[in-house]
């Protein structure tokens, strides 16, 4: 199948190096300590953060740092074909783990010993790149909860189809069988915290594809920063400062 047509346009009309439309909203769940919705095109994810709070299960308590927990779940209606999956299948357990590790790396856990931070991400619509969208939503929710972080982790995926590196794959491109590189970075520190790839790539192509994903992450980071700034300005005006 042709994923990039001769004019250089992809299936959904994007250029190879173009990202899908981003949209984010902070504070969507009033009861949570921090929450955010993050959309990348048709992928829509909602994240909620509870904590830092007392550790619920005493045996898990860490005396020198905070316990970070994460659960990823997909709504039944999130995918094209409706399916009813049992909770805690292998895929969601793996993604929960990935998100937890990525977020843990940027939270200053040593500042909150003997406490627990819960991150819950719920996929409302899945159209490729849920992993990245979840991490971006979790970052926003953590920032909304006021949890101290080293940097804002952001994530983006890229792939390689028809001899062209493509940024931010959608579901069709993702399931095409080409490589799918998901990268998470700490943009200010310029460090990679998450890197996953399936399928195979030439060494030098991989370099290009990964560089493209990093550029994507940086674009997401600047958008997230904008949203946070906007939110802070609103809070400021509500307080009447």
């Amino acid at each position: 199948m042709e994923y990039v047509n001769p004019e250089g346009l992809r299936l959904d009309g994007r250029r190879p190096m173009e990202m899908r439309q981003l949209r984010a909203e902070i504070g969507v769940i009033s009861k949570a300590d921090g929450s955010a919705v993050f959309e990348m095109g048709n992928t829509k994810v909602i994240a909620a953060v509870y904590g830092p709070r007392e550790v619920q299960n005493r045996s898990q308590q860490l005396n020198d740092q905070a316990l970070v927990r994460c659960e990823y779940s997909m709504a039944n209606f999130s995918t094209g074909d409706r399916m009813r999956k049992p909770k805690g299948d292998r895929r969601s357990t793996e993604i929960s783990l990935v998100i937890r590790q990525t977020m843990e790396a940027c939270i200053l856990t040593h500042l909150m010993p003997r406490s627990q931070i819960d991150i819950f991400v719920q996929v409302l619509q899945a159209d490729g790149g849920t992993r990245s969208a979840c991490i971006n939503a979790a970052t926003l929710a953590l920032a909304d909860a006021g949890i101290p972080m080293r940097d804002l982790v952001t994530s983006c995926s890229s792939g390689f189809l028809n001899g062209t590196p493509l940024l931010d794959l959608n579901y069709l491109e993702d399931s095409a069988g080409g490589a799918d590189v998901t990268v998470g970075i700490l943009p200010k520190l310029d460090k990679v915290t998450l890197l996953q790839m399936d399928a195979k790539l030439q060494m030098d192509t991989f370099e290009n594809v990964m560089q493209l994903a990093i550029e994507g992450c940086k674009a997401v980071a600047s958008y997230i920063r904008e949203i946070l700034l906007e939110n802070t300005k609103q809070l400021e005006s509500r307080r009447g400062i």
Partner: protein, 291 residues
């Protein structure tokens, strides 16, 4: 669970006794309802309902299926509810399963009627395509995104809104199929049928706190309840289903009284909900024209 001090508990109970609740409402006043439709593009119909801090999403998906042999002239509808841990950290893992099952079965009771499908809020015979061969299966999925009490009423409203938003494709059946063959069906992707939702009931939950009962209880108020009754009532004022929750027993005469109160409340709720749904649909159509 909600941790309330004795003073807070008495404050809530005392307020309800004086017809002035902690958020300033009267006993029989709902929180403002906010409806948004067409939020899940992959679904045949979807809606999001916000009721104060409670936020639920319902989606309807229509798929072709085979009718149940005992009811060849009817389609099938199933309702599942999922409680996302975003709403409450205790829903993590399998923690929300009990509540999900309770809500799903209460909704099935309130909206789907008996096993035969008679008395259902949704007209099952309108889902039949070829008698005994092909019918529509409606899968209704509810998702609790944020919870601040009164989930059942919110889910009921969301399902009603999602059904009003549902467009079922028109189908052409090939006429030449013989009796024992599965007929060929051609699903149109341009023409859609709107679903008739005038008969879909609304659910009103009356929560009994002390000697009085209130509608649309928040989580704090629900923690003080002795028992609750959920009644689903259609536009004609007929009762379509009933569920009692909570341990304390109720006097039969009180139950009858509660039902008549809920019937009165349901009229206001039905009108409010209908106008909200109509507004949301109009808004949704505007969006479509813009894009």
């Amino acid at each position: 669970m909600v941790g309330l001090s004795l003073g807070e508990q008495n404050f809530i109970k005392g307020g309800i006794a004086q017809d002035l609740r902690t958020d300033g409402r009267k006993r029989l006043t709902y929180r403002p309802i906010f409806v948004e439709t067409g939020i899940i593009p992959q679904a045949s119909g979807s809606a999001r309902v916000k009721l104060g801090g409670t936020d639920v999403i319902a989606s309807v998906k229509a798929e072709l299926g085979r009718p149940n042999p005992s009811h060849p002239d009817k389609g099938k509808v199933s309702i599942y509810v999922d409680c996302s841990p975003t709403a409450e950290p205790t829903f993590e893992g399998r923690g929300g399963e009990e509540l999900s099952t309770e809500l799903s079965s209460a909704l099935q009771r309130c909206l789907l009627g008996g096993k035969s499908g008679s008395g259902a809020g949704i007209d099952l015979s309108s889902l039949s395509i070829v008698q005994g061969k092909v019918c529509w299966d409606l899968y209704i999925d509810g998702l609790v995104v944020s919870s601040d009490g009164n989930l059942l009423d919110a889910l009921g409203a969301a399902i009603k809104a999602a059904l009003s938003n549902t467009a079922i494709p028109k189908v052409q059946v090939a006429a030449n199929a013989s009796a024992d063959q599965q007929p060929e069906v051609d699903v149109s992707d341009e023409e859609f049928l709107q679903f008739d939702t005038t008969a879909v009931p609304v659910i009103v939950t009356l929560t009994k706190v002390g000697r009085h009962y209130i509608v649309d209880a928040t989580t704090e108020e629900e923690s003080q309840m002795s028992s609750a009754i959920s009644v689903s009532i259609n536009r004609q004022g007929g009762i379509c289903g009933l569920t009692k929750r909570g341990g304390a027993g109720l006097d039969p005469s009180i139950i009858l009284d509660m039902i008549s109160v809920s019937k009165h409340v349901s009229e206001q709720l039905m009108n409010k909900l209908d106008s909200e749904i109509a507004a949301a649909e109009a808004c949704d159509e505007d969006d479509e024209m813009d894009s």
